[in-house]
């Protein structure tokens, strides 16, 4: 498949550029690159600027109880190469640098993660709640927020 061809080059370059600070797992259809908070923006910048991943399709977060994991699904438009980036952060710190300067599409999605999951994004131009009212307390999508259902 042509996907694997383009990926091999990208992964080789990334391994070199990131000096081993990433872990790669090749699952179809999304190859996953895991990194930590310090190297996240460096990785995302390289993906965007060198490898042409210009379309942030999806940005979300999962609460794994002992840590959070923020997931980026990034595509290139219109030729549809795709890749996934995951970044784990500790529950106590719950903070990541913002990707808004790379993809403006991250603006509202980061606000949603802050609103519902409580993860702060440093460098975000306007990190306020988006789906719930300003005076709402708590972050409902966290696993320790109980609902009746």
């Amino acid at each position: 498949m042509s996907e694997i061809n383009y990926l091999a080059e990208i992964l080789k370059d990334l391994n070199q550029h990131m000096e081993g600070q990433i872990q790669i797992s090749e699952n179809q259809p999304y190859t996953c690159i895991k990194t930590d908070e310090k190297n996240l923006i460096k990785l995302l910048k390289r993906l965007k600027q060198k490898h042409g991943f210009n379309y942030l399709a999806n940005l979300t977060a999962v609460d794994y109880q002992d840590h959070f994991e923020v997931v980026y699904h990034i595509h290139s438009v219109p030729d549809n190469r795709k890749i996934m980036v995951k970044c784990s952060i500790s529950r106590e710190k719950a903070q990541l640098p913002s990707a808004v300067s790379l993809w403006p599409a991250a603006d509202w999605q980061e606000r949603e993660i802050y609103d519902l999951m409580g993860i702060k994004f440093t460098g975000h131009p306007n990190l306020v709640r988006i789906l719930l009212p300003e005076d709402f307390t708590g972050h409902p999508l966290r696993k320790d927020y109980q609902i009746k259902g």
Binding site: V71, W103, W108
Partner: protein, 366 residues
């Protein structure tokens, strides 16, 4: 001395438009827009949290309530995502039935788009015509699933029931009448000079901005980017159908309208081909009684919904309920581009911009 200052007015969330609870704060210098601030969240129902306490099959009716204007499409996306997660193969006949209903939903959604665009701009008659024609599709949905609007008709592994006998003449006569309907809209709506003046050259969205902001669907294609998930990354059996992807040139409101009108024609083509090629057979695969996926398995499945790229990100923890379900809502992400396209325009253009971006607030706020 005379001085002037910027005025902020609120549009919504209670306003005479069909887009639900959308609140836009417009900062104006006279009638010229300096800035717009978009507030969403008025239809936030907490569906992603509810998903964590429902089984995969129990969530099917909720998935229809994301995009309620074309409710077969989010339904389709959800069941396909779960099938991908669990490795379930769908029988051929069910795939064809799904395509027919999905494309009918797309036509219904675009017809409502035209009607609501006109009613927002003040042309009430057009809404009557579009709704009259949309009612035929609602009747077809009622024949299949028993419900007009929120059809939770898809199941994990297939569809709920086979198409009834009266469906086929209904859909064939609808397809036969569709060119006449579009000709009527052409004469009544698209040829109208006032509508053209209010839409042409208004709300331009460049291709670079559209891609950078994650805009998808007809809005992206109206800016000239050839990106339709049914072609780029076909899901289900969409690679078997022959259809074109209409593109715009200027990225203005007029292009966003015309791209959707052309998509109605292309959807009708797909339905005709599907009706021709549909085989006999099972309509639902044999699936286990309790649906579970492996612990740690995850999937991101996206479909070309009538609003754009609708994606489901599901993470499983080995139980019969999803551990995390996130819905990548195209309307949520498309709305973020409203300040960019409204800047420098007039107050009335905000209404045209919102209407042509075609947001569904239920999907946007989940």
């Amino acid at each position: 001395m005379i001085s002037s200052e910027h005025m902020t007015i609120n549009i919504g969330p209670q306003h005479p438009s069909t887009h639900g609870g959308l609140h836009v704060e417009a900062v104006l210098d006279g009638e010229k827009i300096i800035d717009t601030i978009v507030h969403v969240g008025y239809v936030h129902r907490g569906m992603e949290k509810i998903a964590e306490s429902k089984t995969y099959a129990q969530f099917i009716p909720y998935s229809s309530r994301f995009d309620y204007l074309a409710s077969n499409l989010p339904n389709l996306g959800y069941v396909q995502a779960v099938e991908k997660l669990m490795g379930i193969k769908v029988p051929e006949r069910a795939e064809y039935i799904r395509v027919i209903l999905a494309e009918l939903s797309r036509i219904a959604s675009h017809q409502l788009f035209i009607g609501s665009l006109c009613i927002d701009l003040g042309a009430t008659t057009a809404m009557m015509y579009c709704f009259r024609d949309r009612e035929r599709i609602m009747d077809m949905f009622e024949m299949t699933s028993g419900q007009r609007l929120i059809t939770a008709y898809m199941r994990i592994g297939g569809v709920a029931e086979d198409l009834p006998e009266e469906f086929y003449p209904a859909v064939r006569s609808f397809l036969k009448d569709l060119p006449a309907m579009l000709k009527e809209y052409d004469g009544l709506i698209f040829g109208n000079e006032i509508l053209q003046a209010r839409l042409k050259g208004v709300g331009k969205l460049s291709a670079e901005d559209a891609i950078a902001y994650g805009v998808s669907g007809s809005n992206l294609r109206a800016s000239g980017v050839n990106y339709d998930i049914r072609k780029i990354e076909p899901y289900g059996i969409y690679d078997r159908f022959d259809f074109e992807v209409p593109l715009g040139q200027n990225g203005d409101c007029w292009d966003r309208l015309m791209v959707r009108v052309e998509e109605i024609v292309q959807s009708a083509r797909i339905i005709e081909q599907a009706l021709e090629a549909m085989p006999e057979g099972e309509i639902k695969a044999k699936v286990p009684r309790v649906l579970k996926a492996e612990k740690g398995a995850e999937v991101y499945h996206r479909i070309e919904s009538s609003k754009g790229e609708l994606g489901y990100y599901i993470v499983s923890d080995g139980t019969d309920k999803p551990y995390r379900m996130h819905v990548r809502a195209p309307s949520f992400i498309n709305l973020a581009v409203l300040p960019i396209i409204s800047k420098g325009g007039l107050l009335q253009d905000i209404i045209a911009n919102i209407a042509t971006l075609d947001p569904v607030l239920g999907e946007s706020d989940r």
